[in-house]
């Protein structure tokens, strides 16, 4: 475990240890005997001798709290531990084997949940007589089903994962899979459950003792103390306060500790991110005053940053391209190239942690006036989304709301922009336009009743409902089969013709798809555009070594061996100095790593970010 991960554990850990140490050390601490009565000075307040005062029998409250902690904590921990072991085992077995085993373990343990907890505890206590051991047993029975359920649910989702199947494929015995693969991976929610259970067990122990069913007087326990203090509540309210404080404080410390422990055990660590629409706008320098080019969309010098542990990390740097009305621009790149973030920046849908720090995004709206989307206030941006610009997402099954009818969701984009009349008919017309068979029925269907391709068609219908000027498609066919992909690409091409003047930005990793549909292409690598130009020209004669290598590595043609680009895309926080592609580039020379190359014009409306573009053939 890393030191950075342990640090958050220190504070709650020290507190929890202090509480436990106090309880353990009670016999050797210079405390008054917790059961020695001093009726003469009953209900006296705090004094030098008795720091927290004396109770209804004149016993020392501080001493009783510390001695009571021994009982409360040991009962709670023992009960929670017993419940955790038994419940986890039941849930793990039930979730892994399913079938009869599930019936005998998880379902059987759930019967316990049918009884009111207090009644069940009463039953056990009545059968076995009061006392700490009985209390542990009854609490363990009460809390085990909770662990069983959590372990069961986690096991169910974990056993379907490939790494569990991989263990089976390796021939691992079942016990090994359960203990070494499943248990560590279902542990985090169980740890949280444990902290909640310890807390709940302490509360229930107090409750049962309060009712006279738990710890037997005169042994001190927090529940008994609350019970005793209740009768004297009006004379000495503080008596009630101390055990309650002890109870609440311990519960909170435990919860905090277990939460931090779970985070520390997560190998990936917690994602950090700050909310910030306001911060986003404030971070931006004023827009450059150069006149906008007469294009539909022009992105200039777009730079995006995310906060990192060692200061902001630039994930998109100086990205620029232009799109004329009626054109399709493909942004192509590998994962980590910044292509999706660039697309989201255009829509103003950047994740909270990502901040634009420079550049501008000019979009000519329907009225023809160009606006800078990066600096537009959210309400105006919202008015433009869906009307001037619309977006199609990658996964059609998660981008439609499963609870609403398809027609209602397509109609929503009309309604959001002030259309009120004839929505039903327009929805059906739209669904017909995107090629859904039987559009009347599709309008009243729920998303799960449509296939993947049909859902994507419905998403497209919602996107084009208001005849947007710009359609942004983020990997819209990646989740689809090739025959369906071909249909959707054809549909998009048809729509673009029908919508006359609608521009399309198509984000993809698939070069062949780019070749099919794009007029222009912007190739991105490691957060930068490395080449931009007409798609056909770029593919026929790339001017950047990365574009060339990417085309070469596409598995087409009859070459015996694929030519692969060595190495991997650099991480945003470890960008090479100079040209970012240089470490993987076959043409790199010392000068390439010295300074970052700028975009150079390589032809009419073509540019590449390479010092040696003339030599790339």
């Amino acid at each position: 475990m890393r030191r950075a991960k342990i640090r958050p554990l220190i504070l709650p850990g020290v507190l929890a240890l202090a509480i436990i140490a106090l309880a353990v050390a009670a016999p050797i601490l210079p405390l008054t005997d917790p059961v020695r009565q001093d009726v003469a000075s009953r209900l006296t307040g705090p004094s030098a001798l008795h720091w927290l005062g004396q109770d209804e029998y004149g016993r020392d409250v501080l001493s009783r709290i510390i001695w009571g902690a021994r009982v409360s904590l040991s009962v709670a921990f023992a009960a929670a531990a017993a419940a955790a072991v038994a419940g986890t085992l039941l849930g793990l077995l039930g979730g892994y084997f399913r079938g009869v085993v599930e019936l005998l373990t998880v379902r059987a343990s759930e019967i316990v949940l049918c009884f009111p907890p207090l009644l069940l505890a009463l039953l056990v206590v009545t059968l076995l007589g009061p006392g700490a051991a009985t209390l542990v047993l009854s609490l363990a029975i009460l809390f085990a089903p909770g662990f069983a359920r959590v372990a069961y649910a986690e096991t169910l989702s974990a056993r379907a994962l490939d790494y569990v199947t991989a263990q089976q494929a390796l021939g691992a015995p079942t016990a090994r899979i359960l203990a070494r693969t499943l248990l560590p991976n279902i542990a985090p929610p169980l740890i949280v459950q444990f902290s909640l259970t310890v807390a709940a067990a302490m509360l229930l122990e107090s409750g049962l003792s309060f009712l006279g069913l738990g710890v037997v007087p005169p042994s001190p326990s927090w529940g008994l103390m609350i019970r005793g203090a209740r009768s004297a509540m009006e004379q000495a309210p503080l008596l009630l306060f101390w055990p309650c404080l002890a109870l609440t404080g311990t519960v909170l410390v435990l919860n905090l500790f277990c939460d931090r422990l779970r985070d520390a055990l997560d190998p990936r660590g917690r994602a950090s991110g700050k909310p910030g629409f306001l911060g986003r706008v404030l971070a931006l320098p004023p827009a450059p005053q150069t006149p906008a080019t007469p294009a539909l969309l022009s992105v200039e010098g777009l730079t995006l940053q995310v906060p990192g542990p060692k200061g902001p990390v630039t994930v998109v740097r100086d990205v620029g391209f232009t799109l004329a009305p009626g054109e399709t621009l493909a942004i192509v790149g590998e994962s980590g190239s910044g292509k999706t973030l660039t697309g989201l920046a255009i829509m103003g849908l950047l994740p909270a942690a990502v901040r634009p720090v420079a550049g501008r995004i000019m979009l000519a709206g329907r009225d023809g006036t160009p606006r800078d989307l990066l600096r537009l206030p959210e309400p105006e941006l919202r008015a433009m989304r869906g009307r001037d610009m619309a977006m199609i997402f990658q996964d059609p099954s998660s981008s439609l709301n499963p609870l609403l009818r398809v027609g209602a969701q397509v109609g929503e984009s009309l309604r959001a922009h002030g259309v009120t009349d004839g929505i039903r008919d327009r929805v059906v017309t739209l669904l017909r336009q995107v090629g859904l068979p039987d559009p009347e029925r599709a309008a009243v269907a729920y998303p799960h009743e449509l296939s993947g391709g049909q859902r994507q068609r419905a998403m497209i219908a919602a996107a084009i409902a208001n005849h947007p000027r710009l359609l942004l498609a983020d990997e819209p066919t990646t989740a689809l089969d090739v025959t369906v992909q071909a249909q959707i690409l054809t549909l998009l091409a048809e729509l673009k013709r029908a919508e006359g003047g609608m521009g399309m930005v198509f984000v993809t990793h698939n070069l062949a798809v780019v070749a099919e549909i794009a007029d222009r292409v912007a190739v991105m690598y490691a957060g930068e555009v490395v080449e931009e130009g007409p798609a056909a020209e770029v593919f026929a004669a790339p001017r950047h070594p990365y574009t060339a290598a990417l085309i070469e590595s596409t598995p087409e043609g009859d070459a015996e061996r694929l030519s692969a680009i060595p190495g991997a895309v650099p991480q945003p926080w470890a960008m090479p100095s100079g040209c970012r592609f240089a470490p993987r580039c076959a043409m790199a020379e010392p000068a390439c790593t010295a300074a970052a190359p700028a975009m150079e014009e390589t032809g009419p409306r073509r540019a590449a970010r390479c010092r040696r573009w003339k030599e790339v053939a």
């Binding site: 199947t165 494929a169 021939g171 369906v484 992909q485 070069l511």
Partner: protein, 325 residues
């Protein structure tokens, strides 16, 4: 003729989508009688769209899933008749590489420990010897052997897929099922992993069942191709032949729909989508989307038979003669 290393005969697999209360639910026919054989050292590509049963076939072949009908024979031994211990011992010789390099590695254990798992389970190597083998395997798949102590999330997708391949190789298997091993990877990384698989196959004489929806990748890596649709084999034969002259209307449509950088395809993309495996069409399963379908195609499921005039090719189409002519 030499006996194949592993073969499946008449494999069927039925899933039951949960129906109402107490109901057994709708039967979904994921595999509907598939014969497949993989010879020693041979790479067989299984291609098809989602729902064609290719992943189910891979798992049934390794008996990670029991077939509902038919049998799998590894060196003429029926996997179904083996005891648990015997089957686990046999797993040393057949391994799997999964699609998702993020889900196929345990996020909480070091990659070295995971690669060593197979060796520990099968008593191949332990302690320092295992560590040495792990280092050698990491080197073999092109990774830094000193990174064995790292956790999976410290690697990129392509590197993780290399680790998964190293894990599969650790037991020195004879047969590997690779289920879409490069689909989740970037193009430039895909090429690296495809080349790695090709090298390893040549080096170690591995038999490979390569499951993919990407025809181009299959063409690069495989000797033979099996084209599947809705749980049935449509066409089978030498990879080069099938790509040069696809015979089955489905294979043709699949090739035509695959986007290419060199020619704008999409002349006439197939209409409609793959029908649900809960309600497959009667007769030939492809007839609902087939441009050559005739009323007779609905009558019976066409059997896989040799394509007239083409050596080593098989096709399941009533009109095979017309196609061949």
């Amino acid at each position: 003729m030499i006996a194949p290393l592993i073969r499946g005969e008449g494999l069927t697999r039925i899933f039951h989508r949960r129906g109402g209360f107490l109901g057994r639910g709708v039967p979904m026919l994921a595999l509907r009688g598939v014969d497949i054989a993989v010879n020693r050292g041979e790479a067989v590509g299984v291609v098809g769209e989602s729902g064609c049963g290719k992943s189910t076939l891979g798992r049934v072949m390794l008996r990670l899933m029991a077939p509902s009908g038919g049998r799998v024979l590894f060196e003429d031994r029926d996997l179904a008749t083996m005891g648990g211990a015997e089957l686990r011992a046999l797993r040393r010789r057949m391994q799997m590489v999964f699609q998702d390099p993020y889900g196929s590695l345990d996020p909480r254990r070091s990659v070295g420990a995971q690669i060593a798992d197979g060796m520990a389970i099968h008593g191949i190597a332990q302690g320092a010897e295992a560590a040495e083998r792990v280092a050698a395997l990491l080197r073999q798949v092109g990774l830094d052997p000193t990174h064995a102590q790292r956790l999976p999330h410290e690697f990129s997708g392509g590197q993780r897929q290399r680790i998964a391949i190293a894990r599969a190789l650790a037991t020195r298997p004879d047969f590997i099922v690779a289920d879409e091993p490069v689909s989740a990877l970037d193009v430039s990384i895909q090429a690296q992993v495809v080349n790695l698989l090709a090298d390893l196959r040549a080096e170690l004489g591995l038999a490979l069942m390569f499951i993919s929806h990407d025809l181009h990748v299959v063409r690069h890596l495989c000797d033979r191709v099996v084209v599947m649709y809705l749980g049935l084999v449509m066409e089978e034969g030498p990879a080069a032949e099938i790509f040069r002259a696809p015979a089955h209307p489905y294979t043709r449509a699949l090739l035509a729909a695959t986007p290419s950088m060199h020619h704008r395809a999409m002349t006439a993309p197939l209409a409609g989508e793959v029908p649900s495996i809960a309600r497959p069409p009667s007769g030939c399963v492809f007839r609902t989307r087939c441009p050559m379908a005739q009323p007779a195609c609905a009558e019976s499921i066409p059997v896989l038979r040799p394509l007239p005039g083409a050596d080593g090719r098989q096709i399941a189409c009533r009109r095979a003669e017309e196609i061949a002519a």
